[in-house]
């Protein structure tokens, strides 16, 4: 520490600060329809690329693989197969719920890319890749990803 003549020994070490910026992110037309379908119809809608035929999530006006414009909408099952998962143990800001919880990628029937969501009603020790799961829809839906509470194992799994 550099000396300050006649000063106290108390250092000036850190200044508290924050950057408070409020955003209003534009959903755009594709997210708008995607989330309205979830809110109003309990439907998960993807878009299909006319060139590579991939059914994409989230819906967007272009195919990330071949860069074609994409405008054909396809309804996907709210049921699919777990591709990978982890049991989140540690806390961090912005979590959807208190840990522990299971975060998974699910290949919805009919989709070409994996859908991210939580697994519920499942003993973490019994979760596995390849498990069949189905969406549990929220009663009070607002047009966000939380319109699905989580995916639970289908009857004969568990």
């Amino acid at each position: 520490m550099l000396e300050v003549a006649g000063g106290s020994e108390e250092p000036v070490e850190v200044v508290e600060g924050d950057l408070d910026i409020e955003y209003r992110y534009a959903y755009g037309e594709y997210y708008d329809r995607f989330y309205r379908e979830m809110r109003d119809n309990r439907r998960i809608m993807g878009v299909a690329c006319a060139r590579c035929r991939c059914v994409l999530l989230p819906p967007r006006p272009y195919c990330g693989f071949c860069y074609e414009p994409v405008d054909r909408w396809v309804e996907l099952a709210d049921e699919g197969t777990v591709q990978t998962f982890t049991n989140v143990q540690l806390p961090f800001p912005g979590q959807p719920t208190e840990p522990p919880y299971i975060y998974a990628f699910i290949m919805l029937d009919g989709a070409a890319v994996q859908f991210p969501h939580l697994l519920g009603e499942v003993d973490p020790a019994r979760a596995r890749v390849g498990m069949r799961v189905k969406a549990v829809w929220a009663e009070n839906r607002k047009g966000t990803l939380h319109d699905i509470k989580y995916f639970r194992p289908v009857e004969n799994e568990g």
Binding site: V15, I21, Y25, A26, G28, E29, R60, Y62
Partner: protein, 380 residues
């Protein structure tokens, strides 16, 4: 090593204040496609993608991670410049010059409407010495404006006359956000939002995007449309702290231009250039920049303006697009200047076309009170 590099395709959005129905990446996708269409290339022809974006505008960290798909960078080499898009174009130019790549895509986009006009500039205030007193882009510019105008005894109405000239030019620009002319009385009568800066001397806040396709010479020559050859580039940055800077002149712009002129063989910019596109978020900056770029002597920016030289029909038009006075899509602004310059020298500027334009300079500024500058000279 590639000997020469050209700008072969370009596109920009119609800039507007709030595009609630469009995502930032949707804007980027639209201009990339239009730029590719303009030169007859497809995304498969592109070898490297350089983009410019702002994490603070996008509201995402390292925001190009999310953007890669929309930019056509899927499984390609891609990197980002956190600054104006003209820097990204210069970065792409250097990559092409190495000879490692023959085609590049440059994309810049920003949606200021998502976070409000001053969020970006407030975030630039460092926490120890600048943030305690608060400083945004407008206040920083006002400090520079007073320093400059007082030092040279610039008439208080000169910046207002810049705004009048640029707003009149912007009427013809199909991409501009503000397309109505204003009178000198209206500008002088508008509120002093940070004296000496008046409200109508400040550019608008815009959402927008711009994309350029650049290639090395042999690819450019094989294309159907005439390319704009990128013959000189330069960049320069001033110290961060405004108190450490000479606020009476824009030294970074002067040095960036000198570098570009040397490469391009521009000896007398007033005679060797046919038009200039400047980034002037505040009108007084056009006066300072004309001096820095050597279009007139120091302190004579207002005289140059009064002479009519910089109007559309003058000897050296400055901002025939209306410049940033008429549209300011942050991050894309400087790349738009290069797109305008390229369009001019290839005779593709439509209603903005300056007759017989052969060589043009595009300038971008960044940071508070034009801390950084980049310049590029294009010719037919």
């Amino acid at each position: 090593m590639a000997e020469d590099v050209a700008v072969v395709g370009w596109a920009q959005t119609v800039h507007s204040h709030e595009m609630a129905r469009r995502t930032d990446l949707g804007l980027a996708y639209s201009v990339v496609n239009a730029a590719l269409d303009s030169c007859g290339l497809s995304i498969g022809d592109i070898e490297v993608v350089i983009d410019a974006g702002s994490d603070f505008l996008d509201g995402r960290g390292i925001s190009n991670c999310v953007a890669a798909d929309a930019l056509g960078a899927h499984l390609k080499e891609e990197s980002k410049v956190a600054g104006d898009g003209l820097l990204a174009a210069i970065y792409a130019y250097m990559r092409l010059r190495t000879g490692m790549f023959s085609t590049a895509l440059v994309v810049a986009y920003g949606k200021s409407s998502q976070s409000g006009p001053s969020a970006q500039s407030r975030s630039m205030a460092e926490p120890f010495y600048t943030r305690p007193l608060g400083l945004d882009a407008l206040a920083a510019a006002a400090l520079q404006a007073r320093s400059y105008t007082r030092h040279y005894g610039v008439d208080g109405s000169a910046p207002a006359r810049v705004a009048v000239k640029n707003r009149a030019a912007g009427v013809e620009n199909p991409h501009a956000q503000l397309r109505t002319a204003v009178s000198l009385g209206e500008v002088l009568g508008s509120r002093e939002v940070a004296p000496p800066i008046r409200e109508l001397e400040a550019g608008p806040v815009s959402d927008g995007a711009c994309a350029l396709v650049m290639t090395e010479g042999s690819v450019a020559r094989a294309l159907r449309a005439r390319p704009a050859w990128l013959v000189g580039v330069g960049m320069c940055t001033d110290p961060y702290f405004l108190g450490s800077r000479d606020l009476q002149r824009c030294t970074p712009a002067a040095k960036a231009a000198r570098s570009a002129y040397r490469q391009a063989g521009v000896f007398d910019p007033g005679r060797d250039l046919d038009l200039v596109e400047l980034s002037e978020p505040y009108a007084y900056q056009e006066l300072m920049l004309c001096e820095a770029l050597g279009l007139c002597d120091e302190g004579e920016g207002a005289d140059l303006l009064a002479s009519g030289t910089t109007t559309r029909d003058g000897g050296l038009p400055v901002n025939v697009s209306g410049g940033v006075t008429c549209a300011n899509p942050l991050v894309a602004t400087g790349l738009v200047r290069l797109a305008e310059a390229a369009a001019q020298v290839t005779g593709r500027a439509g209603p903005l076309q300056v007759r017989d334009a052969k060589r043009a300079l595009a300038h971008s500024s960044g940071g508070l009170a034009m801390q950084t500058a980049a310049c590029a000279v294009v010719e037919r």
